[in-house]
């Protein structure tokens, strides 16, 4: 999970919707679907420049977040030849990460392997070591919005409805391009001014799929994460 600018949660700025019970309720335009591109660059002290790049689907609805690695057709096929069950079973890089928040603000974190039709369920005490720190704010909004609002607004050209924010010191910077209407960052970049490190996530909003991925797992088998261990 990506956790930036950790801090406290803030109010939701959103469209008011009158429900049948005449309750004014804040509802985000949902679902939101996007492709996130992760790029990182490092310049080593030996003069070697290293770059990595990958993409993930990001889909969220009222109380659900789903992220899943994008595997292009040109990526080498994951080989099963000669592999022990255990080694194969424990690779979650390409499994979807599925977060659900219930009415009591309890969050459930699960992996989904679509190719195996399996849902892998860790214990809540295992979430931290498996990549989810328990924070809904940063999982859902990709940044902590409270911390974001404390950053400096940049007078810089931005797409309509989006604002650039920056936080920096003499050595490092973080810049976020925040889409106010969609309540999502279109870009998060952090790096060093000396050019030795740069990490960037860009988000391209896309049409939501006709069938939301979490609605397709009803007949999947659920297993406990620890059952995959020795």
């Amino acid at each position: 999970m990506n956790n930036y600018l950790a801090g406290k949660s803030s109010f939701i700025k959103c469209a008011l919707v009158i429900t049948t019970s005449f309750f004014a309720q804040c509802v985000l335009a949902a679902p939101l679907s996007a492709i996130m591109t992760f790029e990182s660059m490092t310049m080593t002290s030996e003069g070697v420049k290293k770059q990595t790049q990958f993409q993930e689907k990001f889909i969220r609805d009222a109380n659900v977040v789903w992220t899943e690695r994008v595997l292009t057709k040109t990526a080498p096929q994951h080989s099963h030849a000669g592999e022990e069950d255990h080694e194969h079973d424990l690779n979650f890089a390409t499994a979807a990460k599925w977060l659900v928040k219930d009415n009591n603000n309890q969050i459930t974190f699960r992996f989904v392997r679509n190719n195996e039709k399996k849902i892998i369920e860790p214990r809540t005490t295992e979430y931290g070591t498996l990549g989810f720190n328990g924070e809904w704010e940063t999982a859902y909004y990709l940044v902590n919005r409270d911390a974001l609002k404390k950053m400096t607004v940049l007078k810089q050209e931005a797409p309509k409805g989006a604002t650039w924010y920056e936080k920096k010191n003499t050595e490092e910077f973080t810049r976020v391009l925040w889409d106010e209407a969609n309540q999502v960052p279109l870009s998060i970049e952090s790096g060093r001014f000396d050019g030795t490190i740069d990490n960037k996530i860009t988000l391209a909003i896309a049409a939501a799929p006709a069938k939301l991925p979490w609605n397709a797992v009803a007949n999947y088998q659920t297993i406990a994460y620890e059952d995959l261990l020795d």
Partner: protein, 475 residues
């Protein structure tokens, strides 16, 4: 003249002595044996835990025991593997027989056949034969017997003490072997295990159960109810166990989690109602110690191994210390009951190693979970790319970044090396939780029962330990 008179007096008083020696147990013979098993607890884990809690110059309780500790190194390879798993390695200690990976307390010709779910596919005949465990032998000789673990009590290590099966994953069958009077019961347990405490409730409850009474058994049986019918006191929480008076309980059965019990770090931080390993150990001693013939008790720190598989050194440290604390509690309790441990043998060892290793050249007094700081000037040591690194790293694991980042010695989030959830870096990348066992020898500590503990020395094969235990018992 005087001398002759004295001799005559001595001779006549000698004739008044009873025909048998007053002590039923000769010096060096153990009436009681407590076998502590730290799963996966190899030498680096022991060293790091010592530094974590007691500094470089300190000692874990397992290292000093009663001050007269004997130490051996143990070779852990199995019948078919250079690097073993917990099944044949624990079975080697318990039976003296070397068998194949995945196999529990069976002959070497036994082939591991995968179960269907947790239900065995082992044929009734034609695939090896059971080999007696020291727990079974002790029971037959009139000892009270028990097994305690923080892992599922049907998991390989405890299962090796009381069951026989061609595959460790057949946990439904393993559970049935422990239940007196029921189908599949291991008759070699006689009147039954006197103490059985740990996790794994799922394998004792049926799929047809409702809510908390629902488990993974496909035969519809509720083994907890059967145990109660057989006279067991059954508990399923830490508070319930604490309420049991071990001194008036003869058969104690406890299952404290549907699966493995929680890691010590989480058990404490989240105030989870599970007993500590110390509590389970002391309660077991209370129950078993009542038997005039003595007892055999196996206590396992079962999740040191899981935290190592997870490359999460913080939880490795906390579970190892919890295991060490249970050893101390047992030592203190047995010293009260058997001063000088004259007739109690205590053995502490591991079934196999893992791949955690210790980078140098850190400054003495450094946080063992932190980055390596040069002992000369306290500055962090750097890799070829100018990045710092931790003292503890793994041979294989999931955290092998394509480009290494500068590490922070803090605990604000899981990227910082002192955080509860930080996963140490690895040389070879494998999946999350997929860190492997290690092939290196492990340490063994023994004390008590005079000459008996002295027999544990040198570099020995794991199968040799069984014979040393039976000799100590005088079998």
């Amino acid at each position: 003249m005087k001398k002759l008179l004295i001799n005559t007096l001595l001779l006549s008083s000698a004739a008044l002595l009873p025909a048998i020696a007053p002590s039923a147990f000769a010096a060096g013979e153990a009436k009681n044996v407590i076998f502590f098993l730290g799963d996966g607890m190899g030498p680096t884990t022991v060293t790091a835990a010592r530094i974590y809690k007691y500094k470089e110059e300190g000692e874990l309780n397992m290292e000093k025991l009663d001050g007269k500790t004997r130490t051996a190194r143990v070779k852990t390879y199995s019948n078919d593997a250079q690097t073993t798993d917990s099944a044949p390695s624990m079975a080697a200690y318990m039976t003296g027989v070397k068998m194949n990976n995945e196999v529990l307390s069976m002959s070497p010709d036994t082939k591991a056949i995968k179960p269907t779910g947790a239900d065995s596919n082992c044929p009734a005949t034609g695939n090896g034969t059971p080999v007696d465990t020291i727990l079974e032998i002790a029971k037959a000789k009139g000892k009270a017997v028990g097994a305690v673990s923080t892992a599922r009590i049907t998991h390989a290590t405890p299962a090796a003490t009381y069951s026989h099966i061609c595959h460790r994953d057949a946990e439904n069958n393993i559970a049935a072997q422990a239940i007196v009077g029921g189908a599949g019961y291991n008759a070699k347990l006689g009147t039954g295990l006197d103490v059985l405490l740990g996790g794994g409730r799922d394998y004792f409850l049926p799929t047809t159960g409702v809510g908390a009474a629902k488990g993974k058994r496909t035969d519809g049986r509720d083994l907890t109810a059967e145990a109660v019918t057989q006279g067991y006191t059954y508990v399923n929480s830490g508070s319930a166990l604490s309420a049991v008076d071990g001194k008036t309980t003869n058969k104690l059965f406890g299952l404290f989690n549907a699966s493995h019990m929680e890691y010590e770090l989480d058990r404490v931080k989240k105030s989870i109602d599970e007993p500590s390993l110390t509590t389970m150990t002391l309660k077991a001693i209370d129950v078993l110690g009542k038997n005039s013939g003595g007892f055999f008790l196996m206590v396992e720190g079962g999740r040191i191994d899981h935290a190592l598989h997870g490359t999460n050194a913080k939880r490795v440290m906390e579970d190892t210390i919890a295991f060490d604390d249970a050893i101390k509690a047992a030592l203190d309790e047995m010293q009260k009951r058997d001063p000088g441990l004259a007739n109690t043998l205590i053995v502490v060892t591991a079934d196999h190693d893992h791949t955690m290793t210790f980078n140098g050249y850190g400054k003495r007094g450094s946080d063992v979970l932190g980055t390596v700081k040069n002992y000369k000037d306290g500055k962090e040591l750097l890799d070829v790319n100018g990045k710092n690194y931790t003292a503890l790293v793994f041979g294989n694991g999931p955290n092998r970044p394509a480009t290494r980042a500068t590490l922070v010695e803090g605990n604000a989030d899981a990227t910082q090396v002192l955080h509860d959830d930080y996963l140490q870096e690895a040389a070879v990348k494998v999946g999350l939780g997929g860190e492997s066992h290690g092939g290196g020898d492990v340490m063994l500590f023994a004390t008590g029962a005079g000459a008996a503990s002295k027999t544990f020395k040198g570099t020995i094969d794991n199968t040799k330990v069984f014979g040393l235990l039976t000799s100590a018992f005088g079998f």
